[in-house]
Structures are given as C-alpha cells and as structure tokens.
C-alpha cells in the first residue's frame, strides 16, 4: 500500500508539470493585458509599455516560463500582478472559507443523501422511491443561484433567522461561522444530495439483487443489518467515487454560491484573476486545483480497500 501511495504521488509530478506548462502558454496566448487593468482606461500606449516592462511581461515567453518554474521550485508562487500581494498570502486568505463550506456541505450531503438513497432502493417503485427521485431531478435541474435566492428570501429576509451573506472565521466566532454557513451549505447540498442519493439508490438496487443479500435475508438477518452492513458496504465503491469527485468539484467550482452569499473563497479569487488576467494567481489556482483533484482521487482509491477487501494495491 505504501509503495502504491508513493508511486501515485510520484506520478503526480509529470502531470503537474504538463498542467503548469500548458496553463502558462494558454494564458499568454489569450488576449488581455494586466498592464491595462493596472493603468486604467486613460493610460497611453507608452505608459502601458513601461508598466509591462516593470512587471516582466515584455520578456520573451520562454524567459518568463523559466523564471516562473524557478520560482515554483523554490516554493514561491509569485506575486499578484494586480494587487502586488504574494499569491501564497492570497490563497491562504481565501482557501479556508471554501474548504470549510465545502467540507460542511459534503458532510451534510452524505448524512442526508445516503439514507435517502438506501431508502429509495429498499422501497423500490413505491411512493418513497418516486419522491426521492423527484427531489433528485429537481436538485439537479434548478440552478444553484436560484435555490440560494429562494433560501435567502425565506430564511434571511422574511423570517430573519439567518444573515443574508458573509463569512465569519470559525476561529473568531464559531456561532457566527455556523449561522453564516447554513444557507450556502444548504444551497450547495441540494445538488449533492440529489447526486449522491441517486448514485446510492442505483448501487444499492444492483447489490440488493445479489445472491448473498437473498441468502442473508433467508438466514433471518435483520433488514437494517442487511441494508447497511451487507448491501451498503458492497455498494460503497461507486458512492465513494461520486462523493470524492463531488468534493473536488465543490472546492474548485463554488464561484456562483460564493458570489450569491458573498463568501471570500478561492472560486471568486480565480474568476477575478481570470477577468484581470492576473497570470500568477490563475496559474497558482489551476495548479492547486489540479493538486486537489489528484489528492482526492488518491484518497478515494485508498478508501476502496476499506470497503472492498478484494481491492489491493
């Protein structure tokens, strides 16, 4: 197992190198000029040239690439062209809200979706199954910002139970953190509950038709144990896959929710950086996202061995 993990981590290096070079070149070939963002609308072409020069953007592409890779080897992600702040500081400021909201959302989604999926499979083709599937289709279909606005209207504007927007660090005020996290987590969870419940139902239906389930039932094993110990554990591999990729998607793609609830996370950081052509920030964010995907996939693969002893590395 340890050897497998080391091999997987080593395999990440060429992947990340290819991602880094590809992203670097793609960004430089995209139209846009961070110097124009910095200087503003009335800057003359000569002024823009001077700013480009001071930022190192006038250097040949290969020189810029080598400089950047040299920085990466030193663990330096560079400095934001626009705000002049170290990229590591920016990511440090913005990653925690995203990680916290993402983690809470996944926990909430799993706690709701897995029992719902099991229930739907257990009560296959009854009203319970149809209700869960209807909810699932709705959860997929309604855009996340619409759900967000509906929750805000009900719980923040009309009932005034929760704040409309914002983020509070849990280290500063745990209660304020949870109060502000409830609505974005519920909003995001709607999609993931739908996704995970549907996958759980499908996997469970497949397993519930297996011989060993029928045997367990024939032996008089309690239905609860049949469902959760025999069936769910065997259905867990695809469910874990969807939870893992869902978490990675959450971390890298929550920009709409971050905008609607005004959460200063990495989704907004990335989009703002793209709009401003803030190359060092975009490059760092794409590398980080790639690393998160690789890491989460590794964890998923390792988790398979706990659910299915037949899987060995």
């Amino acid at each position: 197992m340890l050897g497998y993990i080391i091999r997987r981590i080593l395999a990440v290096i060429p992947v990340m190198a290819i991602v880094a070079i590809f992203v670097f070149l793609l960004l430089r070939l995209t139209p846009g000029d961070p110097a124009a963002i910095i200087a503003g609308d009335s800057a003359t072409p000569a002024q823009l040239d001077r700013i480009r020069e001071s930022l190192g953007l006038s250097e040949p592409l290969h020189v810029q690439l080598v400089t950047w890779i040299g920085q990466l080897f030193r663990g330096d992600l560079g400095t934001s062209i626009i705000s002049n702040q170290p990229v590591t500081r920016l990511i440090g400021q913005r990653i925690w809200p995203t990680l916290q909201i993402g983690t809470l959302t996944i926990i909430l989604s799993v706690l709701i979706a897995v029992p719902l999926g099991v229930l739907a499979a257990w009560r296959h083709r009854t009203w319970v199954d149809y209700a869960v599937m209807t909810f699932s289709v709705l959860g997929f279909s309604i855009p996340v910002f619409v759900i967000g606005y509906i929750f805000i209207k009900i719980f923040a504007i009309d009932l005034r139970w929760l704040p409309v927007q914002g983020y509070s660090a849990p280290s500063e005020n745990l209660q304020a953190f949870f109060l502000r996290a409830i609505l974005p987590c519920l909003t995001l969870a709607t999609i993931y509950v739908a996704l995970i419940a549907r996958m759980t139902r499908a996997s469970m239906l497949e397993v519930l038709g297996e011989d060993y389930v029928r045997t367990a039932r024939a032996k008089g094993v309690k239905e609860r144990i049949v469902l959760f110990r025999h069936a769910l554990r065997n259905a867990a591999v695809p469910i874990m896959t969807i939870i893992g990729t869902g978490f990675a998607l959450l971390i890298s793609g929550v920009v709409v929710t971050e905008s609607v609830f005004n959460i200063p996370g990495i989704g907004r950081l990335t989009v703002d950086a793209i709009l401003a052509r803030d190359y060092p920030v975009i490059q760092a964010m794409i590398l980080l996202t790639s690393a998160i995907y690789v890491f989460v996939n590794l964890l998923i693969d390792i988790s398979y061995t706990f659910f299915d002893p037949r899987i060995r590395y």
């Binding site: 139209p31 846009g32 000029d33 124009a36 963002i37 910095i38 200087a39 503003g40 609308d41 009335s42 800057a43 003359t44 072409p45 000569a46 002024q47 823009l48 001077r50 700013i51 020069e53 001071s54 934001s80 626009i82 705000s83 002049n84 702040q85 920016l90 400021q93 913005r94 606005y149 805000i152 923040a156 504007i157 005034r160 704040p163 409309v164 927007q165 914002g166 905008s259 609607v260 609830f261 005004n262 200063p264 907004r268 950081l269 703002d272 709009l275 401003a276 052509r277």
Partner: protein, 541 residues
C-alpha cells in the same frame, strides 16, 4: 470609466439634472433626525463599493476604486469645491503676477500616519511622481523650470511660461489627483506600484486586514487636523465622525441589495436601476443621487484606417447616431439620464452644446446617407467592438450598430470580453487584421471636464489616446487654452474646441447618466460629491 470599474462593477445608473439638483439638496440637508444619538466609540460603517479594491497605488492607476482609496488615506495640496474652484487643502497657495511662480505653503499640524511631519520635500517628490503618470501633470512638467522645497513648509513651482489652468489640474478630483505621500514612497518609479501605504489623510489603511478584491478596513487617523472651513465637495474640513470604515466587495448586486435591506451593510455606492423598487419599498433605506455629474458615455473611431480616416464618413456616423435610444437601452428609466452633447460634460464650467443638435435630437439618417454617398463610401465593413461582460457597456454598441446600419454603413459587430477589447484597441493594424474601427466606453464627468484632462481631446497622433487622431489644429487650440489666464478666456476657447471636436468628430458623446446610491437611514451627513468620501458622515444609534 476605468478598466477596473469596467471589470468589476455591477451597474451604473443615471438621472436628469433637475433630479440631480434635488437629490444633491436632499443629500446635503440630510440632517440628523431630532433625538438621534451620534456614533459612539467603536462605530463602523460598512460600505459596498462599486468594485473590490486590488491596486493600492492611486498614482499608477486611474481605477476609481483606487482613487477613492487614495482619498481615504492621503491628502491633497489643493482641492476643488462644488464650483470647480481650487481651494486650499493641505496648503495655502499664491501665484506671482507674471503667472510663472506658484507657491504652496503647508498648513500646521500635518502628519503622516507613522507620526512624521509632512514636509515640502514630501510634496515635491509626490508631485514629480504624479507628473510622470498624469496627462495634465505631464503638460505642466513640460514647461516646469523648477519644482523645489524652498523650506520645510514651502513648495515653489516655477514655470518657463504661464500655464493658466495649473491649479485646476493640481486640484482635480479624477482620474489621478496628486496625493501627497512620504518622499521615501514617492521616490518609487512611476511605473511600479508602491508597497508602503503611509499617508497623511483622515483615515489609516489597516494593512493586516486587507483582502484584495474582498475587503479593506480604514481606521480614523486620530492625529489628523481638519481645516476649519465647512466641507464643500472635495474641499473644506475633513472631519471624521466614525472609528472605522470597512469597504466590502459584493459581486452579486441582489446580495448587496438584500444585505442593505436587512441592515448587514450601511451603504451601497451603486444601485442597479432594475433593483431600485426593492430598496424604495424599504422604510430603512434612502435612495439618492449624490454625484450630480455622473458619467459620460461615448464612442471613439479609429482615425488610422478606412473608412473613418475620412472626416466626411466620421461626420456621417455622428449624424447617424442619436443619444436617446442609446441611453434608453442602457439605463431604461429617463429619470436617470439626460441627453448631453457637451464634450466637457453637462454641469461643468466648460459645458457647451455646439454642433450636437442631431445627436441630442433624433439623429439625421438622411443627411448621414447623403454624406456617405458624397464621400464615396464603398461598403467597407466597420469593425465595431462590443464588450459582453461589462453591464454598463453592452447596450451602446448594439444600438449604435443599428443606427449606423440604418444610415447605410456595413457594420461588423464583434462580441468579446472587455480584456480582449482593451488589448485589441491598442492595435494599430487594419481592422481586417485584428484592428478595429469603433468602440465605446464611459468616463466620470470630472475626467473629461477640460481640454487638458479629457483623454480623447488630444491630437498628437500616435501619442494620443486610442484612435490616434493627428490634429494640429486641436493642439493649437489646447495651447491657447493653456495660455489663457482668465476663466472667460478659457470658456471662449473651450467653446471653439467643442465646435472643432464635433466638426472633425474626434469622438461622439452619447449622453450623460448618474449613479444612484443607497444608504440606511441611520447613516447621515454624507456629503454630495463625485467621489464617495467618508468624512463628515455619521452613524446614528
């Protein structure tokens, strides 16, 4: 309008002058309700500005949010009152009889946030750095014989020839005011952003709480000594009544509206017009126009390539356009916009409507067609650039394209994001090879209010703003304006510049609109001014 405001603002609104005047009056008389208690210790105003703050150097950029940041933490030598008249702020000033020597004397009690006194050497270094970036400043430095600190409190600026509007430029509120920084900071190259944010203004920048694009916190500078005169636009005493001002960025306009209604924020700098009914229905929110000048929207043609290298075809394009449909599509509610053909903006001392009757009227497609025929227009496609990601710039290209088509132009409207547009507009290639023929943008009126600061009114060819008109006659008129020593003479020359600019179609002014601001009712005494500032304002219990 600047790039930053394009990229990150939500929407900007407008209103007619009469409404603006009424709103200004209302804002200026927004007195504290009887019995209301003023802010206690620890009072914070939370404001949602038009954009997140990212660039912290107010000299290197013309971004409005950075200029606003500049007004929070820096001070200026002289500032304009509501009549655009320069008034002393950090310094008293005097002009020699021959108009060649300007003397600025710093007032007592000025200190930087690190406790060091503000000296004339700081002012000189700051003015020099500003002069490298600002187009008006560059004009002054072109004829500067010397600029020096003659003692700790006196700055002496000697010119080689008279420059009538010097004080107007040094006191201007936008786009780049000459903020005074410590000399050690001002010695940074004008092409590199500063990294030390020590100012001497009424607020201190709280660096450790700064999150670029998210939030910025300003604390009251306890040692700031305001002038004794009452506040008057950017001039007068800057009395701070709250302890902290926090700017937060909210990319979603609906969220900002909800947060204002629920009391989570105190102030919203720009309110999308389609969401106004929500705020107007709230008893706890005041909706008002506090900037009486607002924005000018305009179109600029490329003088380097056919067909707009031909003045007759440019004139035909101007004749084809009409402001009303553009503004109606952009803003919608006529209460918030006005037709205005003045190159230097309506509501400014140099306002003139000369030559713009068809623009502010219904246009004249028949005359445009006749001119096109006379010029021998051969149907060359007009590459019209349309930014799709900036709310305040999506309507103008679409409406103008239709108006041009109706006059007989062959229009190739190309959609792109704003960043692509700003890259492409810098290209002098032929339109068919990655260049362009026409694009649209917006400016705050103070940024275009004079021939010396209006970026378009420049005829220096390749050194001019995008479009690159080669126009010696315009440059002669500007030189006359510089040499004029009285307001009357300047006004008369500005009239001639207006007529010339419209005649050669240097650019096409497409009207004026004003932003609508919103605040909680317990935020009082916000001053009416084109720049949202946080002195004088108070928060009642």
């Amino acid at each position: 309008m600047t790039l930053m405001s394009h990229d990150f603002s939500t929407s900007i609104l407008a209103r007619g002058r009469s409404i603006a005047a009424a709103a200004m009056l209302a804002a200026s008389t927004a007195i504290i309700p009887a019995g209301a208690a003023l802010a206690q210790d620890g009072e914070t105003i939370t404001a949602v500005m038009h954009s997140g703050l990212r660039v912290l150097d107010p000299i290197i950029t013309t971004a409005h949010i950075t200029r606003n940041h500049g007004y929070m933490i820096y001070d200026v030598l002289v500032a304009q009152d509501k009549d655009f008249t320069p008034q002393p702020q950090m310094a008293e000033f005097a002009v020699s009889d021959d108009g060649l020597t300007y003397t600025f004397t710093l007032r007592d009690g000025l200190k930087f946030h690190d406790g060091e006194p503000v000296t004339a050497a700081d002012a000189v270094a700051s003015l020099k750095r500003w002069g490298e970036r600002d187009s008006g400043g560059q004009l002054i430095f072109d004829i500067t014989a010397s600029l020096e600190a003659t003692d700790d409190k006196t700055v002496t600026w000697t010119l080689s020839e008279p420059f009538g509007p010097l004080l107007d430029i040094v006191s201007k509120q936008s786009a780049v005011p000459p903020f005074i920084m410590p000399a050690r900071v001002a010695e940074t190259s004008a092409d590199e952003a500063i990294t030390d944010y020590t100012g001497s203004g009424p607020f201190v920048f709280v660096e450790e709480e700064f999150e670029p694009g998210v939030s910025v916190t300003y604390a009251k500078f306890e040692d700031y000594v305001p002038r004794e005169e009452p506040v008057d636009w950017m001039a007068g005493g800057k009395v701070v009544n709250v302890d902290t001002v926090k700017w937060v960025a909210m990319p979603d306009a609906q969220t900002a509206i909800n947060a204002l209604v629920s009391g989570e924020i105190d102030y919203l700098e720009q309110t999308p017009i389609d969401l106004l009914p929500i705020l107007e229905a709230s008893p706890d929110v005041v909706v008002e126009v506090r900037d009486p000048l607002g924005y000018q929207t305009m179109g600029r043609m490329n003088f380097k390539h056919p067909p707009f290298d031909d003045v007759k075809i440019r004139q035909a394009a101007l004749m084809a356009m009409s402001q009303e449909p553009v503004l109606a599509t952009l803003i919608g509610n006529p209460e918030y916009y006005q037709m205005c053909g003045a190159v230097f903006g309506c509501g400014t001392p140099l306002e003139s409507a000369t030559g713009t009757e068809s623009l502010t009227g219904a246009g004249d497609a028949a005359a445009a067609k006749a001119l096109l025929e006379e010029a021998g227009y051969d149907g060359t496609p007009i590459v019209l650039m349309q930014p799709t990601d900036v709310v305040t710039l999506t309507a103008q290209p679409v409406v103008a394209a239709q108006q041009l088509r109706e006059a007989g132009f062959n229009v190739d409207m190309q959609a792109m994001d704003w960043q692509t547009l700003v890259t492409r507009r810098a290209s002098q290639s032929a339109p068919s090879e990655g260049g362009w023929n026409i694009f649209f943008t917006n400016w705050m009126v103070p940024e275009i209010s004079s021939p010396l600061i209006n970026p378009m009114v420049n005829g220096r060819g390749d050194d001019a703003w995008f479009g690159w008109p080669e126009d010696p006659a315009l440059e002669e008129l500007r030189a006359e304006f510089i040499a004029a020593t009285s307001a009357e003479a300047q006004k008369e020359i500005a009239e001639r510049i207006q007529a010339h600019v419209i005649d050669v179609v240097n650019y096409v002014p497409l009207g004026q609109y004003l932003p609508v601001q919103s605040r909680r009712t317990n935020i009082v005494n916000m001053i009416p001014a084109p720049v949202p500032v946080f002195w004088e304002v108070d928060k009642t219990e």
